[in-house]
Symmetry: C2
Subunit: 984 residues, 2 copies
Amino acid sequence: SPGFLVRSLATQKTPASLFASLDTFADRHVGPDDTEASYMLKKLGYESMEAFVADTVPPKIRVAPESVSNATIPSLTESELHRRARELAETNKLHKSYIGMGYHNAVVPPVILRNILESPAWYTPYTPYQPEIAQGRLESLVNYQTMIMSMTSMDIANASLLDEATAAAEAMVLSFVSSGQKKRTFFVDQGVLPQTLAVLQTRAKGFGIHLVIGDALTGLKDDALRSEICGVLVQYPDLNGSIKDYAELADSVHSSGALLIAATDLLALTMLKPPGEWGADVVVGNSARFGVPAGYGGPHGAFFACTDKLKRKMPGRLIGRSKDVQGKPAYRLALQTREQHIRREKATSNICTSQALLANMAAMYAVYHGPVGLKRIAQKVHSLTQLLGFSIARFGYKTTNPEFFDTLTIDVTGPVPSSEAVHAAALKAGVNLRKIDDKHVGVTLDESVSPQDIITLINVFGSAAGAKAVSISDLTPVEALAIPASLQRTSKFLPHQVFNTHHSETEMLRYIYHLQSKDLGLVHSMIPLGSCTMKLNSTSSMIPLTWPEFANVHPFAPKDQVKGYLEMIKELQDDLCKITGFAACSLQPNSGAAGEYTGLSVIRAYHESRGEGHRNICLIPVSAHGTNPASAAMAGLKVVAIKTLPDGSLDLVDLKEKAEKHKDNLAAFMITYPSTFGVFEAGVQDACQIIHDNGGQVYLDGANLNAQVGVTNPATCGGDVCHLNLHKTFAIPHGGGGPGVGPICVAEHLAPFLPTHPIVPVGGEKAINAVAAAQYGSASICLISWAYIKMLGGNGLSEASKVALLNANYMAHRLKDHYILRYKNVNGRVAHELLIDLAEFDKAAGLKVNDFAKRLQDYGFHPPTCSWPISTCMLIEPTESESLEEIDRFCDAMIQIRKEAEDIITGKQPKDNNLLKNAPHPISVMTLSDAEWNRPYSRHVAAYPTKWLEEKKFWPTVSRIDDAYGDLHLICDCPTVEEIASEH
Amino acid sequence: SPGFLVRSLATQKTPASLFASLDTFADRHVGPDDTEASYMLKKLGYESMEAFVADTVPPKIRVAPESVSNATIPSLTESELHRRARELAETNKLHKSYIGMGYHNAVVPPVILRNILESPAWYTPYTPYQPEIAQGRLESLVNYQTMIMSMTSMDIANASLLDEATAAAEAMVLSFVSSGQKKRTFFVDQGVLPQTLAVLQTRAKGFGIHLVIGDALTGLKDDALRSEICGVLVQYPDLNGSIKDYAELADSVHSSGALLIAATDLLALTMLKPPGEWGADVVVGNSARFGVPAGYGGPHGAFFACTDKLKRKMPGRLIGRSKDVQGKPAYRLALQTREQHIRREKATSNICTSQALLANMAAMYAVYHGPVGLKRIAQKVHSLTQLLGFSIARFGYKTTNPEFFDTLTIDVTGPVPSSEAVHAAALKAGVNLRKIDDKHVGVTLDESVSPQDIITLINVFGSAAGAKAVSISDLTPVEALAIPASLQRTSKFLPHQVFNTHHSETEMLRYIYHLQSKDLGLVHSMIPLGSCTMKLNSTSSMIPLTWPEFANVHPFAPKDQVKGYLEMIKELQDDLCKITGFAACSLQPNSGAAGEYTGLSVIRAYHESRGEGHRNICLIPVSAHGTNPASAAMAGLKVVAIKTLPDGSLDLVDLKEKAEKHKDNLAAFMITYPSTFGVFEAGVQDACQIIHDNGGQVYLDGANLNAQVGVTNPATCGGDVCHLNLHKTFAIPHGGGGPGVGPICVAEHLAPFLPTHPIVPVGGEKAINAVAAAQYGSASICLISWAYIKMLGGNGLSEASKVALLNANYMAHRLKDHYILRYKNVNGRVAHELLIDLAEFDKAAGLKVNDFAKRLQDYGFHPPTCSWPISTCMLIEPTESESLEEIDRFCDAMIQIRKEAEDIITGKQPKDNNLLKNAPHPISVMTLSDAEWNRPYSRHVAAYPTKWLEEKKFWPTVSRIDDAYGDLHLICDCPTVEEIASEH
Ligand SMILES: Cc1ncc(COP(=O)(O)O)c(C=O)c1O
Ligand SMILES: Cc1ncc(COP(=O)(O)O)c(C=O)c1O
Ligand SMILES: O=C([O-])O
């Protein structure tokens, strides 16, 4: 490998002028420097980057360089970005919000803030598809599941969903599916959060579900209605803070064969009888209250728990405990057969990226506080709420909900003419209350509320009523609970050891570090996961995220308090439009799959607006990502598969045939570009033309946008709408399985249909209803992509994409004589990723893709995407951030493994006991006795097949994991103290 | 071990009232909770903590509980602390400083800020005395040494000193020592920084050195003078920014047998001929300019480089490359025989704690920018400086130093009546310039200066002169350099691979993580280093440190801009006085050893003030820390050793005899309390009385203050002055070998003598001169101790000390049947640490202390302090932050090792090839072939001697290191690219 000498001669670009700042981001973001890029170009036979790109990207679809350049998107240096972000931060006004409605001021324990949310060891890893190098976050996610199960008293819980509203929508769909897709009515209690209701309305449409909204305690007496419903959703406590007893409702719902779904609040459940104890079948909610900042709406981990009998229909990722081939306990993703990447349009949901990082924060919060600490926090919140109600009653205010946990709905008509008076006083005091109507004001308290805050609140109500200000000595704490005796929690929660151990900061920190030591992230080595674009997540782009001016903002705060956020959002939307060539953008979808669903829903609305609501056919190539068909199904579309040709390109003949056949009902065509096979197809515009000619709209899956920026764009390719994975192309870190942001950009004619929101209207004039709980989805992390784009500027963005193409092509060049490169274009070029086919090894020696993947772990690398989009293949994507040295190390590893495979093929090593089949080799295997070792190769060869591993190696912590065993013996929570004790 | 069941029943204290905050720090800081504390007390036979403390601490010296209680030091919760820190931050005014004088605005690369300065993996480890578990920071410190050697062109450099001023003082002493302590005159050029001169003046006193201040280029023509001097110090560039050619001076100084010492600036050296090329023998300076925040004066890493022939006299720590027993290259502390812990009063200096963390930041900055990046930064700073000079010349200002790098001294008499006009304009513009005199103003630029900043500066001068404001288009960059041709650097620098590789953020982050993966810190497990007090360094106390309002403050900024800092400093001083029982405090000393030196100097000044300047005898027990005698020697005192009795206590008879014998010349007695043997001696007050009766003063080494807080105090014990290691008792993290803060507290009669400072007067009315470069030493990290004290409050502080005593006694209890507990008091109690004696094992089987220490590494622990204060012993200190579970794990490990030793004693294992002698066992040893393994025990027993190691284990990365080989083949820098290439 030439890496070393080349790097030592590294050139850095000469600054343009004396005044040019030196901390230019592109130099730090892009792995190879100019010398290295030239070297790679030369290896590929090119004199210039331009010549290379011309051979790689079809000329027809190239865009003018100016379209994405510093002229259109000026670049800021890292320190300029910092200053600009501070400017925006200071433009937000930090009024304290008591608005509630599912969002609270969180107190993030500093040890968790610094060592999880702000730590690249936690935020850079990918979804734990490779469990042997992900046991840390898998354990933490099991803590999350356990915590949810224990708090809700349910049999099983998943490892997070996108937000409470979409979780409720998933539950609605599950109840529909549970009815054998027969009962199409779903009952929603009127106390459900308005944003949840809106998302249900959107989602119900695709499934043809009819929503009935009413009082669940009174509105379901009618037998006829009850026999039609598949499920009922209640909020516990409800929107207005009331706590109601749903036990009888549960019986009655069950007796008619439907499901009862409860949306609830984890903190309240420390004091309230959990839904599992009064008959809920599914329990959902937002876990952000456990130490995750409000962040102007997200990202937050939503939870989803259900009864045992529903578990195989549960959406989202589930972590289970299995064992490795040495019999050591080991965690991994369980029941993957439910998921879209296997089941496609028949999947239980389209969920892919979820909210792992935020779920882990919430789990760690529970670990840190333990049951006693949580209860105490809840009791305090509750008592202060009582104190508030009691204190303002003296001014004549009436609490309309005598039974509550933390939320009061206050009738203000006694002391003041209208609620405006109270809101005016609140504004003056720098606090936000919930605006209900003329007569009512809402207040929700949380962990962050100090005695001084309570005084402020009381005096807000007091001053509106013309009363004298009170001080702390005027207050008398109330003793009794405002929770009905029958609904007080009597059962224990979180009895598991992990929640009863790490309560000092030292212990907590060590637990966090212990778990992170098991996980491979970008802090260790390349994660060349095709289609996932694992690139540098820069510190500069991460820093503003946790500033209080961005972190501590309620999504429903008044507009003039969030000017900084709105400006950032506008700039990001504008830049994304420039990059995609489209006219408008919605940031609401909080994952790529959610973007797909939103885009397709927008297409449906467009058709409807033209009186073509019947259009319901969606053409999707067989090579599409599993989320595509799953999203199409959710949007109520029927999926028709399109073939690909032997050279990997779309079968245009098949496409034309199907488009014409379905002409009258053609709604959409979904295409990923460059294709999931890693090539830019020349026929993309022709394909889109075929669709348009037949009345359809083109949905472009922008997961591969990293190959396009400044080179081509989805509009030029012929698309009408695309989603972008900001957590891929635009450098939001993957967080070990989320968060993500999946905005959609649309052409002019689709702009009117972009989604709105029930509380804070956004989107187009003919907007579809909300697709996420918050109007801008996971707003706070949009800052990361905003910063990424601003720092690279148009020139840097284009350079990044070009280098991404170059890195992939250089890799293809190095590997092509050792592995079968499955697809390339007529010039021999791949796009930003490459597909290698390992089928030959299976034939020759029974070696599977997985054997190569696990062996790569021994080399300290995260394996590429395996067996997708073709089961015998690996899809490899280096991104622009990887240096030549790292790429060469990876190629060296692949080539060395090829040699190891050769020894198996030629019989030098047995087919059943060799370096690949036995991979990975954790340290615990290295220490086996000579008798146990019993392998026809040395420990040294197993551990250090190349020299550089002796200096630097990431070790898997378990051997290969038995997936079948795990699914058969499903265990998704941690053992309790008693269980552990009885084992001793 | 009972740990598990006890922890599972963990109680947390019930909050006192509804209004009580729940994020109380003591609950998180103190490891054991109440249940665990009760359990431990019971094991020791006590019903209550009070009964236990009564048996542990002599009743005579107990202080009233109110002296340190929430009444005297109220406690803040974590969030209250955060608010209070923000309040103070906002009280500082962030004017941009161009004051220079050795301090600059640093641009900290965000990846280094977050992943080193803000990362507990980097800030919690101890000084790398155990190199097998410290290879990461050792490598980084070698990078630092290499960087210094390369920039200065010197043969060797150490791993940092405390600050530039003390580094210069060390160089002065070295030149005195090099003259065979014969020549007592030292010449200081008038262009040296005033704070450096002040520290030299203080230091010269103790050594009886006579300082001559003058122009080195003209003032040394006189042969007589030249023959008297041992050394000459010049500043390059000098205080006023001038660059002078000292090559001839060097010849002339050398010809008279003296040393030439240069204080210099690393950034300037990218453009200036380095001192090593014009004959400097020693080069010192501050490396903070390489990415370390100004922090109101510190902490900063100072460098010290010298010629090869001076290396054995060099002060401070030096890292060298040796090899381990497997022949693998490995770093470790080299030439330790020079150091105070071996040589005591004959050491080259008293340096112990230095500035490892800041040196590592500077080294990483050089790694990140590389030679090209650094040069570019320097060129820009230089060109902007030229532009400034040129631009203001048009208003009539005259630059008095035509040759400069980044600093202009400006004669303002042309355009304005007095410099006041310029300073007034500067104040209005929010910038600080250097105040020189009526006629002159100084300006120093740095990396942070933007084009807008230059415009602001130009307009400050312009507006004072009544000129119209200019804008960027009015400016014309200057081409030629303002550096004399003969002094321009032509030699290359930083050609080593490490400085030419990690230039993308991804590569940089991986390098940081790779190095940290080799180092054991508090993030992994207990570091029970006796006398070092390795306790929780909480996130809450670390967070304010890197806020710009604290980080970006020049130490000589006007007082009204640093009100927040001054308030914090005052509060900390007051609290430390309450805790020690003393009347006044100086925060200036920036390490414990510096505190000792300062305290002794204060004592000398006191004696002098009473006409007893002849008092020069210092009594020091043989058991004292090496810094004690070394500091005494530096303060010009003669050390007389005092014996200890077989029970470990001070030999009062010997003390009395020596005190009386030296009655007329007795200056001081230095005592550590509780003693370095880990017991509270009952006779401490008697000992102090003896000293006072004989005219001496008592210096109490407060390194063990963690045993005292709220229980007793140095004043009550009888001391007159003590230093505190804020980096021990008061939770400043050790940073892998610094920073530290070593304030002294003194009784009323000594307060007038506390040190002052030449620029910002502080201290008493009869102050000794400065002992550190900045008036408050390492001011920024004082925030950490301030936060620690404020959050614990008086009650928490006392509780912490009591639990520290309890933890140590519980440990002693668990170990006493397995090891010889060397000392305890009459009630069988130790203090906050315990001394176990391993001599028996040497006798029985040739097993040394080191064999036990290295074997402990295999158990994932940092060994305790070894062979100090008694060569056959280990000194073990758990601190209050360790939980019962961790303490039990450690005791289990010790007991298991005892069993392993037994097998060697009884001959079950050979004496030369066993688990202890072969320890530690890194992974690379686990992978040896069966033939190479060749040990009479299994790999499993070597790696996993107890069950819990299978789940969690920290691995040493090299085998035992050959110290002798390293000192013999001293290599203290990294190989260059060419050297590596030639090896390939
Ligand atoms: C091609 C493609 N489309 C869609 C998605 C779905 O994105 P998300 O995981 O954010 O839901 C992915 C995710 O990996 C993808 O690779
Ligand atoms: C007893 C004692 N005194 C003094 C010191 C010196 O402190 P510092 O390392 O901060 O110079 C130490 C440091 O370990 C010590 O243990
Ligand atoms: O998550 C993916 O399937 O890439």
